[in-house]
Amino acid sequence: MDLQINAHMSWIDFAVIGAYLAFMLFIGYYVSRKMSNFDEFFIAGRTMTTPILICTLVSTYYGIDVLFGTSELGFNEGIVAWFGYSRPAYLFFIIAAFLLTNRLREHNYRSLPDVLERFYGRPTGVFGALASFVYALPSLGLFGLGKVFEVIFGMDPRIGAILFGGVALVYTLMGGLLADALTDTVQFVLMCVTLAIAIPLVMSHVGGFDYVARNLPGTYFEPLGGVPVWLVIAYASTGLSILVEPAFYQRIFAARSGREVRNALLIGILLWSAYDWCVTAGGMLAQAAVHAGILPADTHPNTALLRVVVFALPAGLTGLFLAGVLAAEMSTIDSYCLVAGGNVVYDIYRPVFDPKADDARLSRLTKWGIVLSWGLGFVLAFYFSRLLALWVFMSTILTATVFVPIMAGLFYKGRKTKLAGLLASAGGMLTAIVYYILIHQLGSPNDEYGTYIWSFTLWGRPVSLWQEYAIFFSLPLSLAGFVVGNLLGRTVQAPPADEAAA
């Protein structure tokens, strides 16, 4: 029988959660009174400094997918969650800090597709906007919020997704990126502080890592655990998406300078690594708690961390921790809704249908775009059952479509053609989609890893293709498309900075 979390909660816990939600709405209302143009709504008037960038970057990237996904991996496999899955991402953040930010600040871009449009023209920009839109749909976040609601209240997760996700939607509609960033800041403190308080209490209840080491298999302490090497590489390669991440780009454009972003990333890496380890440790401690009989044997790996923390915390702190869990996800949902809404209106509707749209019209339509992305995200949210698998699919589509053309645009000084951008982006996206369809048609589901695997024999040797390996095919084909397009197409003359930023 599963642990009923609300049985461990008092009225103080529910009051803390209610106060948190009310405060988020107040911030949205307060900021909405200061907004006067599209730049202020969409990129906060380029006013962000290092501390607010740290808060919004850390909280935006780290939602329930990390809290539950990484702790799930820690619960099932051990320290590989940190060494194999989380740690490679820091390398990409360092690359972004030192190589990417200044390049992206050379022009007054407003979005990731702006960058593509400048180098390769409108069609490639639209492909980039489509990939960014798919990536930014808040399905993962809404699914996570629903799951938290179900675990806490034992009710339909869709109600929780509507309730908590609805609050994030409302304050984002009211105050745009600044409301998003200010709420992110409160959410950042909540999610970090509550986790830092919870883990020592869990360690105390379970008996620390001495108990974990005595009672869990030795593979839990191997950096690659029992996970296939190619799967670890596939997970690690999702870190490539950091270099082309639309919410990250939006924050680079919203910063006061490239230096502020670089400093924010370097401090952020320290906090991310600490957060990741606490979550990994929490997953392993939850597994030990199952072994000790503190948690029931049928505890789901996805929610094991949440359950063991709620078990360990006293009244009041439980509500604060659950507010921190909600904060982790709401800070992700608001940011990606804004990105996806901007993709629909600023990156697709404006250049294709209404190039002369003024600020008021762009702001108004972007709000409708935000609502659209929230609605689509909600529909998708309850189709996928595995958090990590969904995350890998979304980041694969983004990386396959925009990684090669953006990196080539920013760093390749040689000849670049419109056709190269188009073939690289369209080729990468289509390869990733076809690969996923093929693996789902020809392969079979694997319950242990929650994925699809197509196993066959090639030249007498067994071969297993996982759906997560899509990036290994789509990225080389995207690069091939770029090379072919460069050979066949005509050279693009990049427009001056002001024109590109218009």
Binding site: A44, P51, F188, C192, A274
Partner: protein
């Protein structure tokens, strides 16, 4: 103390102290950010 316990304690301190320090720095910047955003 197990070395993984020690590693976890270091992460806890970094997370707790770091997040509070960043929040204090944010509060010091907040006035300036709000002043730069124009009013209707």
């Amino acid at each position: 103390m197990n070395r993984w316990d020690l590693f976890t304690w270091v992460a806890i301190v970094v997370l707790f102290v770091g997040s509070i320090a960043v929040f204090v720095a944010f509060l010091m910047d907040l006035g300036g950010i709000l002043r730069k955003i124009s009013k209707d």
